[in-house]
Symmetry: C2
Subunit: 223 residues, 2 copies
């Protein structure tokens, strides 16, 4: 029996669809950081009413994907390098822990999935689609986080990674970053496959540190 067989079908509400659509739009960089979102425009673009949109915006605000200043409305937050650093640090904390746990508890089945996602990232790394690179890399982490045995770790991590999607997109288009990222991720995979918890932790730490460094470079190059 599949362990996560979920019988419950969840009806899609307009609110949820809207949140998903907007989240994706933010990830793919459709809005400039700092730019404002105009309710009436979004309403017509999405084909929904203002109350529904506003509910969706409140959800995104709580996820910190947008900011809502009273009487000024929603906007895409301009992530300072200071905050980005803080996010990378917490991400390191979580991801290292998850990789370590994962090494000693992942199932062969999921390990295979992890390998497949690594291949997917390898393919994306050779392409020119930087959004695909970010997405496939995110899949790789997702599998690790999903198999660390702690759903909260996974949830918090997802929320944080979402907030730095802007930086990740830019650093992934950096010359050579995708390739070195690939080898770091392979290192993580190998360690997990070998069940070596300590090595997995260390490989994971190195990966996040280098991702942070790459993000900083990409930020300094394009102010």
């Amino acid at each position: 029996m599949p362990p996560d067989l979920n019988l419950r079908i969840s009806p899609r509400s307009v609110q949820r669809e809207t949140v998903d659509k907007l989240r994706l739009a933010i990830f793919s960089g459709m809005f400039q950081p700092g730019s404002r979102l105009i309710e009436s425009q979004l309403c017509t673009q999405l084909g929904i009413s203002r109350p529904s949109l506003r509910e969706a915006l409140r959800s995104l605000e709580a996820e910190r994907l947008i900011e809502i200043v009273p009487n000024r409305g929603p906007s895409i937050p301009a992530l300072s390098w200071e905050v980005a650093t803080a996010i990378y640090e917490v991400r390191e904390l979580l991801e290292v822990e998850a990789a370590g746990r994962c090494a000693s508890r992942i199932s062969p089945d999921q390990l295979h999935e992890l390998e497949k996602s690594l291949s997917a990232f390898k393919a994306a790394a050779s392409s020119n689609d930087s959004l695909a690179r970010v997405m496939t890399a995110a899949d790789f982490y997702s599998i690790i986080l999903a198999n660390c045995g702690n759903p909260i770790l996974e949830e918090v991590h997802r929320g944080l990674v979402a907030r730095i999607s802007f930086f990740r997109g830019r650093s992934m288009s950096l010359e050579g970053r995708a390739q070195s990222s690939l080898s770091e991720m392979r290192e993580i995979f190998e360690s997990i496959a070998a069940g070596d918890e300590k090595a997995a932790r260390e490989a994971s730490r190195q990966h996040v540190l280098k991702a942070k460094a790459a993000a900083k470079i990409s930020m300094d190059s394009k102010p």
Copy 2:
């Protein structure tokens, strides 16, 4: 010049007031876990309109303080022990890190604040007001998290602690728990005051582990 002098006055919107009020209501255990929240009731109780309320509910949903099932509406989630365990584990991860950082960077001024909050908890521990115990203990952590140098660590921690307020309230009314909690917290304080990073980490870890154990006991005793 005070470092956090913020010129921006922030107008309070109905939405924000509502979120704060509801959050506080949830913390203080006004709603039973699993119980449903009726929009129309809340509207009249809070004296606001349904759209405003629904926006507030979406915020709380994103914070995971309530659940909203499509076509069934909002309810207080019944936190399983499994999820609570996961939260305590991540809390340990964050709090240990924060205490360690705090030990080597807190200012004398903030250290004094920490001492005051410890006294406040001591007073609450001797009283019968278990809500006061939870609140003063939360203040103590807040100061540590606010001085760890990483605002994201603080933010994530606050979100997680909020979700286990139910357990914390119950375990704090446990015979003797407040007193042992006090001595654990004093241990943390002493380590930070001494600038001993390693000891602060260890004391912090012990505290979270014991808090988790107490929560489990309180859960088993009253199903």
